[in-house]
Symmetry: C4
Amino acid sequence: MTPDLARAGEELAAECARYTAMGWMRGTSGNLSVVLDRDPLRLAVTVSGKDKGELTPDDVVVVDADGATEDPVKVPSAEAGLHARIAAVAGAGAVVHVHALAPVVAAELWPDGVELRDLEMLKGFGRAAHDDRVVVPVVPNSQDMRVLGNAFEAGFRADVPALLVARHGVYVWGEDLRRARHRLECLEWLLRFKVETRRHAP
Amino acid sequence: MTPDLARAGEELAAECARYTAMGWMRGTSGNLSVVLDRDPLRLAVTVSGKDKGELTPDDVVVVDADGATEDPVKVPSAEAGLHARIAAVAGAGAVVHVHALAPVVAAELWPDGVELRDLEMLKGFGRAAHDDRVVVPVVPNSQDMRVLGNAFEAGFRADVPALLVARHGVYVWGEDLRRARHRLECLEWLLRFKVETRRHAP
Amino acid sequence: MTPDLARAGEELAAECARYTAMGWMRGTSGNLSVVLDRDPLRLAVTVSGKDKGELTPDDVVVVDADGATEDPVKVPSAEAGLHARIAAVAGAGAVVHVHALAPVVAAELWPDGVELRDLEMLKGFGRAAHDDRVVVPVVPNSQDMRVLGNAFEAGFRADVPALLVARHGVYVWGEDLRRARHRLECLEWLLRFKVETRRHAP
Amino acid sequence: MTPDLARAGEELAAECARYTAMGWMRGTSGNLSVVLDRDPLRLAVTVSGKDKGELTPDDVVVVDADGATEDPVKVPSAEAGLHARIAAVAGAGAVVHVHALAPVVAAELWPDGVELRDLEMLKGFGRAAHDDRVVVPVVPNSQDMRVLGNAFEAGFRADVPALLVARHGVYVWGEDLRRARHRLECLEWLLRFKVETRRHAP
């Protein structure tokens, strides 16, 4: 392991443990990645099929821009290809994908995109708290990462660092894992607020 | 204690502590088991009446295919007979039974079985994320494990590793405790999603 | 401190920390007691006004059958009189009073008493899982412990070890703190189930 | 650092960690302050932009009555000016501002103020449990702390130690951080109760 990969492994395992404790990575769901190199693109991504609350820094594998690995043993997450696509298109340094409930409920209620506006927490998502309409795109679920990646890219806007995959989960990205985490936490709060207040609408 | 039983006791206590922390084993509710031998069937099952957050590896008792024990002191869970039946019929290596709320609410709302389809989390339950209709069976509650066992067996399908007992709780099984856990966590998520989105249906 | 009182203090502090972590003793709310002597009645009750997540074994005070203390310094919970009344009338060895949300919501929705029936969790409350109608009494809130105590006694049945105080909280009792805890946990689950399924009723 | 500032830093970091664990400071949201001096007013306030679950006692900065600092390096929370205004007008020794969900949902449902009455938890908010009508004021969100401060002051009543900022969060204050915490915890409970029971209203 290179020092960069070792450090990425430590950070990825720590973030996974955090999200697992929040109930956002039930079963073996979800996966996180960090960019190691830009040219050519190389990412460290969490391995497939492990309990995300029990990852070690070694449970990480290097993939290329297609999500493919040359690792003879470790299997990257099946969604590594979408991580790589997001990192390439959005220029993100870290991509987090979790199965929090509120984002998936929101995607079900607003399948054409979830509109958020005039909420303080939008600042933590990189937008303005007033008069700034944000629409988080929703794409249909697929097992083909090229299909998902094309749908992502078709709806991509540089100022919306998140993607909802219907009946599946949420992707959020940022410069590094810390900033992606803050955006994810704010977005999850916003979507819970949106779902909760819809219930009470007259 | 044999080494196998001692190891089973350690694993069962650890899993119980985990589920208790999630609020799924309130009071002294729920029970877990692992298969020790297949022929004749012998299972290690958690003892009756103890706080599941405070089990020790010794709080485990060996039962046969009828859920009966020869242990002169320890009392197995009253539901040990259903654990043994599930292990025999489904060929499971571990059976977990918890009183999470969402499964019992779902069983109340869909008493003829809970249909799940086109949801990514179904992969963590051993099924496909698309075009694969899953119906989790619901059986009426009973204190007679033969009655429950017959109802379970009547609705058993090898590709649905779970059973909802109405107004009671959920059983999930798998090759070992880890895999049963992952299936349970995914099923609980799916049932929360199902209940939450029903509330918002037009 | 007598050894009995010291042990009671340790147990009361530990149980308070547990309930605080569950969100059931927000602010400085709630109070717990254990009976030290029956004739005349003496109880160890948690002191007033402290954060229940930060109690020490010393934060306990001895009260008599009226909830009064001879302690020159420590102030017992204002509700000590009701604890003593419950201990006397029900013969309980421990009384727990917490401000969990579901019991107070249930008391609001069913002000004439909350009916529970045909639910497995009733076994953990000391009743049968089938064909056994349980009505948890609801009394109006009051700051006068004699008024509350009279309302409690008027509706007391030996087979219902709990009392809901409207717009306030829940009392549950048992032989000791452990058994009171198990009954409380089961009752809270039952009331959450009752509230959740009412929401979905046609 | 003066001893007072060092102690304030320790207490602020500990309270932030507590609220973060409760999910009330997602992303980098929320900020806390304690008064160091009254004349002229000086407060220690948490720095801007950090994860509130990872603050150290050093992540605190001194501001004046306008929320301005002379610190050459550290940036106070953008809301420091409102903290100072509340401390001045209400005479509070500590001000806590968090993004718990229920207060923001309540502000959305009752934009003219949230009425609370005849609830035991009001005692933990400094009011009576009976026949004492409390209205928690709601003000529109703003990024200008003078606008927010003026709206706060216009609706200020000495017996209501809280302010809801619509689509943003809640401020609660008290003599010190501990008492502000207890009031916040009680208010959050009260607003959850209010929101939950509204859902069930006929």
